[in-house]
């Protein structure tokens, strides 16, 4: 198992390398002068200043040399400076706690609400609870997330005053509950549906029939055999979804004014602030790979057949 984990970690190296090359090339090969983009449409940056900035950020070098210089810094843990001279590591340091809090809260809501909902529907296949869950999840899939976000903000935040409208001033969990719920809704609906389908499939499996024939009580069969097996695909999904959630929720962080990674990367893309985009993207790729590894290792606990020796 340790060997397997190590091998997977080694595989990260080419993936990360490829990802950074791709992102770097895409961001820095964009037409338009990033130094002027920084000025944002209202002010012109005087030429001597622009020249000094180009020099400082190696923008006069060919792209491959720029990349090598950037990677050289990155290997020493230096994310570089953005085009306005702020350390990218500062930006990441101040924004990741917000994103982690938001992602974990949304993820917990997905698990705590989504799985029981799926089980409830699955065990009552074709009856009212099943239909109810189907209708609600379809609705969630159909309505765009920003509509849900703005509506919830105005109704639950402004008009009813049940939740803070925006910002993180009231700390965790109060400030995060509403945005995390909206953010988690889509994953929650998927989790519920996946759990339901998987449960129904497993209920019809041979081993269940055998267990019933042996006279084991239904409650025990479901709890010890069916649930555990049904959760394998759900865990896969939840793992990937955690990666997505940590990838920054651009829309939700924007609507609820949560200064997380998504919010920063969105601003950086608008301002063509390459160093920030590359830095945060690289970090996200790494997070995604690690989360996936953890999920793969977790499989073994649920299903001994997939255990890595």
């Amino acid at each position: 198992m340790i060997q397997y984990a190590l091998r997977r970690l080694l595989q990260m190296v080419p993936v990360l390398l490829g990802a950074t090359i791709l992102i770097f090339a895409l961001v820095f090969a964009l037409p338009g002068d990033p130094i002027q983009a920084m000025a944002g449409g209202q002010r012109t940056i005087p030429e001597p200043v622009a020249a000094a900035l180009r020099e400082r950020y190696n923008l006069n070098d060919p792209l491959w040399l720029q990349y090598l210089k950037y990677m050289g810094g990155l290997l020493q843990g230096d994310f570089g400076q953005d085009f306005s001279g702020r350390a990218v590591s500062d930006i990441i340091a101040s924004s990741w706690p917000t994103t982690v809090r938001l992602a974990i809260t949304a993820w917990l809501i997905e698990i705590v609400v989504g799985i029981p909902l799926g089980i409830w529907a699955g065990l009552r296949q074709g009856r009212l609870p099943d239909a109810l869950v189907a209708i609600v999840t379809t609705l969630v899939f159909a309505v765009p997330i920003f509509v849900l976000g703005y509506t919830a903000q105005i109704v639950l935040g402004v008009n009813l005053g049940w939740f803070p409208v925006a910002g993180t001033s009231q700390g965790w969990p109060t400030s995060y509950l509403l945005p995390a719920t909206i953010l988690g809704l889509l994953g929650l609906a998927t989790t519920a549906r996946l759990t339901r389908t998987s449960l129904i499939e497993n209920l019809q499996a041979d081993y269940v029939r055998t267990a019933v024939a042996k006279g084991i009580p239904r409650r025990r069969i479901i709890r010890h055999h069916v649930l555990r097996n049904s959760l394998v695909p759900v865990v896969t999904y939840l793992g990937i979804d955690l990666g997505f959630l940590l990838g920054g929720a651009v829309i939700i962080e924007g609507i609820f004014n949560l200064p997380g990674l998504g919010y920063e990367i969105f601003q950086a893309i608008q301002q063509q602030n390459g160093p920030v985009v590359v830095g945060i993207s690289t970090l996200l790729v790494a997070i995604f790979i690690i989360v996936n590894l953890v999920v793969d290792l977790l499989y073994g606990l649920l299903d001994p057949r997939t255990r890595h020796v």
């Binding site: 449409g41 001597p48 306005s84 001279g85 500062d90 101040s94 903000q153 935040g157 925006a166 910002g167």
Partner: protein, 529 residues
């Protein structure tokens, strides 16, 4: 379970009643100023940098720092601030007399040398400060910003410290409006500490302004300011001001409705109706001087005739654009500067008046229109409808059938404009640095203008500008106005509208000054309880 739920409900009901009672109590004393001045919050965007010469964060900067002069938010005139006066006999050598007894937030006295140090640092190209250009007129700027190689000096030869409280500034050529330039926070002094560790200073600046920073600045986190009690000027009313960064002003507005933030500026266009209705008297539109215009591609044959350019301008119904598309978030621009700018002449541009028949006749006279038309603009959701409407008016009034759009991200758009690759008129914006017609004419259409993107050049116009620059404030106005009238005979740009931005505030604030600077002097805001 049921009991505990009931208990919670009872507790909530009690809390609600208590809140109502509290609210009732505080209502009676609504007009009372808060003890110690109270604190309030302002929705902002992340300032990025807090060193004056390297920052565009106007509101924060004008509270942390005090430049020599200030612009009166209502009259638009400059008036003493950290300096008693900025005067000159010949408009080229300027004497700045500082107020006595002013101190930095760390208690050190402010001296003339502190000003010179700050200006030298900002003007040095190698420092790459965003406001570097603000010092371009001072003698010695070119030596600090050589086009090749590195600078051999790090001080502006045109800045001399005469004594503790006096500076002498020599410009590379006469400029009668120089006092306006010293209202920019980039002209504020910096203490010695600023140069010991510039990075640390950028996060926790020590200024000479009415408020001092509390703690360090962190990216996208609220910025807290506290009143500086030994401030040399008129003391501020509120004890503290917090700037809360928002990426979306729609969210900030929702937060204002919920009572979590006290001032929002600007209110987004689609919420203006809601704001005026809900906030009853707690909104105001600013008169911040700006111009949204189209630049004509003077290098294209299609636009080489001034009559064609005038015909375009006469075919635009600006009243309809501002009332129906912008929903009154702008006023029609019938000259280069809005009414809030000194020296403006609303009737200077005859071809800025809607006249569809005249437009068509003028276009015919110039030989008619051939080929298609491309309108260029930068990506901005607000301009989309505007472009469509303008295209429709040109189609209807001038009979130009084929009109398409080139809408690009800012960087690409700016590059295309600078490289003269735009084959059609391009949308542009200019926000004037001070409320004067020259603050539009010089940058947008003169030979030295940083935003003169279509390289408009008219020797007569430039001679008038130079003549006006050499005169004092009163005398120069008529000459600048003459230059503007001459400009409209050539029509190198087409004014469309002057944008209006609205501020909204909470019930906790007695009055929020809104005027020429957008949000005005926040030291005069009174917090009530």
């Amino acid at each position: 379970m049921t009991t505990s739920t009931r208990r919670t409900r009872a507790a909530l009901a009690l809390a609600a009643t208590a809140t109502l009672l509290l609210a009732a109590c505080s209502d009676e004393g609504a007009a009372e100023p808060a003890a110690e001045g109270g604190t309030f919050s302002v929705a902002s965007s992340d300032p990025q940098h807090l060193t004056p010469g390297n920052s565009w964060a106007a509101k924060e900067m004008m509270l942390l720092f005090a430049p020599p002069l200030a612009i009166n938010d209502q009259t638009g005139e400059f008036e003493p601030h950290a300096a008693k006066s900025v005067t000159s006999e010949d408009q080229q050598t300027w004497t700045i007399e500082l107020q006595e007894g002013w101190t930095f937030h760390n208690g050190e006295p402010v001296t003339a040398q502190n000003y010179a140090d700050a200006w030298n640092a900002a003007a040095l190209g190698a420092n790459a400060y965003v406001q570097n250009n603000a010092f371009a007129m001072i003698e010695g700027y070119d030596e600090l910003n050589p086009s090749e190689g590195t600078a051999t000096t790090d001080t502006l030869s045109g800045v001399q410290v005469v004594d503790e409280d006096t500076l002498e500034v020599t410009l590379s050529k006469p400029y009668g409006l120089f006092p306006y330039l010293t209202t920019n926070w980039a002209f504020a002094p910096l203490p010695e500490e600023a140069f010991e560790d510039p990075e640390a200073f950028d996060k926790a600046p020590i200024g000479n302004g009415p408020y001092a920073i509390k703690g360090d600045y962190a990216v996208n986190q609220p910025l807290e300011l506290v009143r500086y009690d030994n401030y040399g000027g008129e003391p501020a009313l509120a004890q503290g001001i917090t700037f809360v960064p928002y990426t979306d002003m729609g969210t900030a507005y929702n937060d204002l409705l919920a009572g979590n933030v006290d001032v929002v500026y600007p209110v987004p266009g689609d919420r203006l109706g809601d704001a005026n209705q809900r906030l009853e008297g707690r909104t105001a539109a600013s008169s911040i001087p700006n111009l949204n215009y189209f630049g004509f591609p003077l290098w294209e044959d299609q636009f080489s005739d001034a009559r064609v350019r005038k015909a375009f301008s006469m075919a635009i119904d600006r009243e309809t654009l501002t009332s129906s598309i912008l929903r009154d978030a702008g006023v029609p621009a019938t000259s280069i500067a809005p009414e809030s700018a000194a020296g403006n002449q609303q009737d200077a541009c005859a071809a800025c008046v809607y006249d569809p028949e005249g437009a068509k006749a003028l276009l015919e006279e110039a030989g008619g229109w051939e080929g298609d038309l491309v309108l260029w603009a930068y990506q901005d959701p607000a301009t989309d409808q505007l472009l469509q409407a303008i295209a429709n008016q040109l189609r209807t009034n001038l009979g130009i059938e084929e009109i398409t759009f080139q809408v690009q991200p800012w960087a690409q758009f700016a590059e295309a404009v600078a490289g003269h690759e735009t084959g059609g008129p391009y949308l542009a914006y200019w926000g004037a640095f001070f409320p004067h017609v020259a603050a539009f004419l010089e940058p947008v259409v003169s030979a030295t203008g940083t935003s003169n993107d279509n390289d408009y050049a008219n020797d007569e116009f430039n001679a008038l500008m130079e003549k006006a620059d050499g005169l004092d404030f009163e005398q120069s106005q008529a000459i600048y106005q003459e230059a503007e009238r001459l400009l409209w005979e050539d029509m190198p740009i087409m004014p469309v509208y002057h944008g209006l931005y609205t501020a909204a505030w909470s019930e906790r604030l007695a009055d929020v000054p809104v005027g020429l600077a957008g949000l005005g002097d926040l030291t005069t805001v009174q917090v009530t309880n």
